[in-house]
């Protein structure tokens, strides 16, 4: 009995350690890149958004990110600015060139879609590590690589409501602690979304997902992010990340 309990404890402890490594993967101090978002409906034509992204970390390890839209024409010049705060809600600013106005968006909740894609704001922003219980389901081979299969279960109903997920299964590469594939279960426990890391690269000592696809299994809609021309640890002017610069 004790043996069983002990091994149970080890499994969960182990899983938590693995995920902590994923959570605390090193990142760059700053980055500049081109970004493409492809929205692919089950039927009909796909849409493409092209943008430039700039991000930087401050001393408190908080990230600021600026996204400039360059394509299609009707949203060209639209900018988003996200300023992360560890102790309060993040600041989001939006600049609409058609109105020549920047506005602060005061919103909470991360269930919303990221730019109308199948990635939620939660998927992009990452979440609270302590919201989930972790369990190592198995260790296996995934596309020729050794992975841990980790089950993340929401600790409370509030987490489910906040994220829209009751459970996530993650495939984590053993060697570099990168998630290559995950399955998302809705509030009722039904699998409804898959996110696949199509490509990852080592840039300046940091493993980074450069291509990712999210697929909604209910609607058949897919979204794909492609990062190109990544410049890591570049010098970026601080003013890029101030609301006044948006205009």
């Amino acid at each position: 009995m004790i043996k069983v309990m002990l091994s149970m404890f080890l499994i969960t402890q182990n899983a938590k350690d693995i995920m902590l490594k994923v959570h605390n993967r090193p990142t760059w101090k700053s980055m500049k890149s081109k970004l493409e978002l492809r929205l692919i409906p089950a039927k009909g034509r796909e849409r493409i958004y092209k943008m430039e992204s700039y991000s930087m970390k401050n001393e408190k390890d908080e990230t600021s990110m600026l996204i400039k839209f360059v394509y299609p024409g009707d949203v060209k010049g639209t900018k988003f600015l996200l300023i992360e705060h560890k102790d309060r809600e993040d600041d989001i600013w939006i600049y609409l060139p058609a109105l020549r106005k920047a506005k602060k968006i005061i919103a909470s909740g991360k269930k919303g879609a990221f730019m109308g894609s199948d990635f939620s704001n939660y998927d992009i922003g990452g979440g609270e590590f302590e919201d989930w219980d972790y369990k190592l389901l198995e260790e296996k081979e995934y596309e020729g690589k050794e992975v841990y299969v980790i089950e993340c279960t929401a600790k409370s109903r509030d987490v489910i409501k906040k994220t829209g997920y009751s459970k996530i299964i993650k495939y984590v590469l053993k060697d570099i602690s990168l998630t290559v594939y995950s399955e998302y279960y809705d509030k009722s426990g039904n699998l409804f979304k898959k996110i696949t890391t199509d490509k990852y690269e080592n840039i300046e000592g940091v493993w980074f997902e450069t291509e990712m696809t999210a697929e909604n299994l209910k609607t058949g809609h897919k979204s794909k992010f492609v990062f190109t021309e990544i410049e890591a640890n570049v010098k970026l002017p601080k003013k890029y990340f101030s609301p006044s610069y948006l205009k």
């Binding site: 929205l39 409906p41 009909g44 034509r45 849409r47 024409g73 009707d74 949203v75 639209t78 988003f80 989001i92 939006i94 609409l96 060139p97 058609a98 109105l99 106005k101 506005k103 602060k104 968006i105 005061i106 919103a107 909470s108 909740g109 269930k111 919303g112 879609a113 990221f114 730019m115 109308g116 894609s117 199948d118 109903r157 489910i160 409501k161 509030k187 009722s188 426990g189 039904n190 209910k218």
Partner: protein
Amino acid sequence: MKFLAKIVSKFAYINLIIILIITVLLGYFMKDIKVQAELESGLPDNLPEVVAQNKVKELFPSQDVIFIVVKSDSIFSLPYLKKIYELTDSILFLNGVEDIFSLATASKIKGEEKGISIIPLMENIPETEEDMKRIKEMVLGDEIFEGMLLGKDKKSTAILALLEKGLSEEEKIGIYEKILKITKKFENPEEIYVSGKPVIEALIAERVQGDIRRLFPLSILVSMILLFLFFGSLRGTFLPVLTVFISTIWMMGIQGLLGIPIGMETSLLPMLLVAIGTAYGIHLIHQFTEEIEKEEDREKAVYNLILKRGNAVLIAGLTTVAGFFSLVSQDIKTIKTFGIVNGFGILVTLFLSIFLIPSFLRILKKPKKATREIKPLDKFLSLSGDSVVKKYPVFLITGLLIIIFGTLGIPKIKSESNEIENFSKKSNIRISYEYINKNYAGTTPLTLLFETEKEDGFKNPELLKIVDKIVEYSENLPYAGKARSITGLLKRLYKSFENDKEEFYRIPDKKELVSQLIFLFEMSSNPEELARMVTSDWKKVNVTLFLKTSDTRILSDIVKKIEEYSKNLIQGTDIKLTITGRARLYVMMDYLIVKGQILSLISAFILVLIITSIILKSFKSGILSIIPMTMVVMGNFGFMGFLGFPLTHSTSIVASLAIGIGIDYAVHYINRMNLLRREIGNINEIIRKSTLSVGRAIIFNMVSVTLGFLVLLLSSFKGVKTISILIAITMILSLFGAIFILPSFVKLITKKEGRK
């Protein structure tokens, strides 16, 4: 007939074994029977409105909403708000519930100098008076909250549970039942109402099943009592019922096998077979008791039985089948199916009556006694014959009066297509429905589907302004509630970006701004929300307008007004507007029912005329048999008009059915008269004798059919109850037509011919 008689009399055991095997096989498939309660699924698929509706269903997320309304004297109080929060929470976590819109999930969008805030009304359970005040402030005066979530009487708020796409009827019933269970726990002192289309459909499906379980045994019981009174023997009581029972198994098995779902009308099959089908058995057993008196050998007696009575049974059956099959001319699929399924059901019953009953009679021992005699009946019949002979003009005038009664009644008949009408005004669902219609945006959706050819077409402000005008016009029509439209969303977004200044509550002038505002919205909301209003290529816009009535006349008026108003606006643009949605489909349904009623009546008359002319071997006799039926049909419409029974999906089948069943009486009577004419010359004698000899069979048939149908009075559906009353009326009229009007008419003709 001789061949048939031979088969039946010779191979009794084999017949029974074959029937048993088929019954077991088909009985197995009864497990696959499905219930279909959606009214509009009966509409033909190629109707433009149906095509548009299916397009909407395919392109846009689910529109199925369950309304849960919590009524209380103090809605702005902590315990009430806590209840809403917890109730929302419990329902949200049900499987099949996609999303919830309630005070607990709604966010307020405010445009201020410092920024646009999207603030949830309740992030957590409100704990303090402060929280409560803040919520109250945000809700009051907000047009979205007031229109959708807050009751007009300020005594309730709504929780809208959006169901997932593609749920089956069973799954919807399951969700509804779970919601009911949950709401039970939250009731008191608050009252909780649950309504919405999925609920109504679930209840209908549930009642359809309940009705079969309750009414089928009851109709069998009634029929057995009647049979026992008539025959006083076990075989007389059980054989006809057994026949009908097996036919029901066969038909239900076939429906399961072919995947034909059971709806409100098709569920009547077992009861209809009992009411109509037992008559065939009665004929056969009755004749057999006479035959066996003369012929000791059972095989020979059965042979004679089929020879003599086979024809009569076939006539009775085939005309009824014709009546049912005439419904195929209707456009509405469910009525068509009803006609086909019941027509085949009667055919099967007919077939089984001819094979099964004689086979049993051949095997069973000779019965002890003949049928009972009922003296008062004979007295009544001889009196009837007499009075026709003496006072035939009185009956003819009565017949004429009934026709006039019908003519006056027809304009009074209202047509009606709405599921809710099936529930009594006191039922929970009806009370909920009325309360929600009165206090909220309305529950009957009208969909305006705007289409354009160009990619991103509806990002063009010119087109959006046209859409906006049509939407605003529609919202201001009587009985209309707030519309859910991309134009409304854009106007709100524009306004909030401009610090909530009222002058910016309009469609932006630049396409870029439209795109950018939408972009902003996409960032901060559930992706499904936008998908409900516009397709991702912006070629199709779906505006849903909720109407507070399901009265088809008002709905039809609303549709006409919107059509007229939009005509000029969309002229010269490439916008195509199709008005659909349930409200529109109800209107179509109404139109098709009226059209179908006329068509199916004509085809019933023609079919029956052909059959009777062939059977009676004379076109003249065929016409003669139809004359009393004209009166029956007119009488039916007269009663509908004057008693206020609307022409619905359900009642539209009565006329054809009445012709199919009632014509038998006339055919029997004419048949007997033609036979007697060979022996007797005097028309008065012929009439007296005909009435006396066939009157009994006719009366008995009338009573058994009428009682069989009256069982349906206990149905949970208003439409079915009405069918039962109307069939009872038409059967009495058919009887009257056959033994009074018909001979009176014959008398009139012979008199005229005599003068010549």
